[in-house]
Symmetry: C2
Subunit: 405 residues, 2 copies
């Protein structure tokens, strides 16, 4: 199951970036499970990584390599997360980087490794290494969609997004892919997102733009509240357009940042629309908070409540569960009489109780929609936050009881 069509339109190639996909047989024979992304010399890469203390071996290695060198290759495998694997896991990730570095004629530090799949199993490095020649032979600028498919695990469909905008008289491209369906509550980035652009960025510029974009996109979605050990989001700036961000007018800089933000939101919400077992795509808007932190507390209390999520699945306007979640979110001195709650255009709670105008039929009409918004007005200040979630269905249980992820 998934919400909406999943169509992502044309994926524009990004000059300076090539992608190659191979089937290494990590978990199933014949399935694409290794993706190599090659960057032109001079490209700038920025990354944000999971803050789960048990961060996976490839996350540790990618952070270390990013700190010392200029990445030329990204190596991604599915079917095995190489997390909870200790020193042996780090050695396996290093072996893969070394093999790709040798084939590509670069230093091992120029290769960033990424893994997704089951936690705690030894990484079959030899299978990945054996598939590298096939992936390198397939390198092509037009392989974004196949790469998006190649990084899927329990995803039912690929997630991608592409935008072109004219800045300073030249066309700049932004194209990104992402994967993820479960263990989704990214904390600083999500499970494998890659965004390429041919705009030239300095490393600090790339990091600042990526940090701002992920904070309001990948860091604002939750399927199950479970932050992965392997979350990464990378911005790859080749500079092939000949345009440098620093030379743009402030307006054009803002337009580029906005396009990047919007692309990240599209990818992040694509993950939620394809959340494990999802049948509903729900936006949670919290407004009138004293600060962003308390808006997020309330938003996540609602978005992660199993009782709210099962009511969403049932299309049951059981708004008492939303109210109970707001009440337990831990805000000090919450004045319940100041709180209003809406389902799309239907006001359900006012003055801490059922709105006088509310009817079950009106609530039912909204809950019957495949996509809608829960809006919560706290009446305490001017802060607001938006996040996205999905419902909790029988299929969520089936997927996670049957699948060793």
């Amino acid at each position: 199951m998934a919400v909406g069509s999943g169509d992502f339109g044309t994926l524009h190639a990004v000059p300076g970036i090539q992608l190659g996909v191979a089937a290494a047989g990590i978990k199933k024979p014949g399935r694409d499970d290794v993706v190599v992304i090659e960057l032109a010399p001079g490209s700038v890469t920025a990354g944000v990584f999971t803050r789960n203390a048990f961060c996976a071996a490839p996350v540790q290695l990618s952070k270390a390599h990013l700190a010392v060198g200029a990445p030329r290759y990204l190596l991604i495998n599915t079917g095995n997360a190489n997390a909870g694997t200790g020193e042996a896991g780090l050695a396996a990730a290093r072996d893969c980087c070394q093999a790709l570095a040798t084939l590509g004629g670069v230093q091992p530090q120029a290769v960033l490794p990424f893994s997704t799949g089951v936690i705690g199993e030894p990484l079959p490095a030899e299978k990945i290494v054996a598939a590298l020649p096939q992936a390198l032979a397939a390198l092509d600028p037009a392989q974004w969609e196949r790469a998006a498919r190649g990084i899927m695990t329990t995803d039912t469909r690929p997630k991608a997004c592409s935008r072109q905008l004219v800045l300073g008289g030249a066309t700049v491209t932004l194209t990104g892919i992402a994967k993820g369906a479960g263990m989704i509550k990214p904390d600083m980035a999500t499970m494998l997102g890659y965004v390429g652009t041919d705009l030239a960025l300095s490393a600090p510029q790339a990091q600042a733009l990526l940090g701002a974009a992920t904070e309001k996109s990948f860091n604002r979605v939750t399927v199950d509240g479970d932050t992965s050990t392997n979350d990464c989001c990378m911005l790859l700036a080749t500079g092939a357009s000949g345009l440098h961000y620093g030379d743009l007018h402030a307006d054009d800089q803002a337009r580029f940042a906005a396009a990047l933000n919007e692309l990240c939101i599209t990818l992040a919400t694509a993950i939620i629309r394809d959340g494990e077992g999802a049948t509903k795509f729900v936006t949670v808007d919290v407004e009138g908070g004293a600060d962003a932190a308390e808006c997020l507390k309330v938003g996540y209390a609602v978005a992660e409540s199993p009782l709210v999520k099962t009511a969403l699945f049932a299309s049951d306007p059981n708004w008492g569960r939303i109210l109970a979640a707001v009440g337990r979110a831990g805000l000090r001195n919450l004045d319940i009489a100041a709180i209003g709650i809406w389902l799309d255009e239907v006001k359900i709670v006012e003055n801490g109780a059922r709105a006088a105008s509310y009817t079950e039929a009106a609530g039912q009409a909204v809950l019957g929609r495949e996509e809608f918004t829960i809006r919560i007005a706290l009446g305490r200040g001017a802060a607001s936050e938006r996040l996205w979630t999905c419902d909790f269905s029988h299929d969520y249980v089936s997927i996670n009881a049957d699948y060793r992820s």
Copy 2:
């Protein structure tokens, strides 16, 4: 579904306490849904209540009445929580108290109201009032089991526990009942627990003993992380044994406190064994923490992780999900190499990776049990905490998608 037999043995009457049950037709005709508990004059009552900001009208009224008077009656209804009902809800709860006070010849402040069921629907006070004569006519000291059944909602079986102990040469009785199966993560008390004793307690003694007992029992269980709007746990001390707690030797005081603690743990874990859709009863022990707070952070991160809970349902020793939950619990400077994790006697994680001695078959053997312990050693200090949870099954989704609770 539920875990274990649910047998609770003999329920001893508590001198000074009578219970009467009636069918008011609140939600279904002919089902017991109103329980009256009558206390002898001179009884002392202590209570702990939910900290959900949206606390229900009966919770507000019970707290107010407890502050000013000596309770003589407790009035409990199921089928309607009278929460999220604003001023009208408070008025309805007051009407019920007034009616029972008139029939019982006491002040309205001597009646404590309690409600459980759907949130946000108007309380049918007239049905409850009409059933009061039937409940009063049924008052009897031997009705603890029927009362335990009378307060059930999605519970599949009643929860009760009774103990007698000899203190200072006299026999003292402790008998308690509780209900709850979903919206279970009590914060200061659980969904309707009532413990009676014939030991004489002063109000401060009763409050202190109850506070300590609930902290390590009802406040250490979670089904779904959703703290109810209606949680209450009450200690009813009639003094009918003629013995006063304050006159006991320190050893006997400690024995009474231990018996009360043990009884509260029995009731709280009975709620988890009957958690909505539960097929597994799981103890989570966290040890080696710097303080209790971080042990609880880790314990709840594991106990509330949908991915861990679905793996428990599947009897799948997918220990990577436990490790990922520990890693995202938010502990600063967590040294993953110091962490050990066990499933009962089987060590699964050492030095931040799979234990050398671990085998899938050994993990599978533990997960196949109906009851087991997840033990997590943090290696940071001397604090430890224990909490209890259940798995997340298809039936949890069915119950909460189909039932308007």
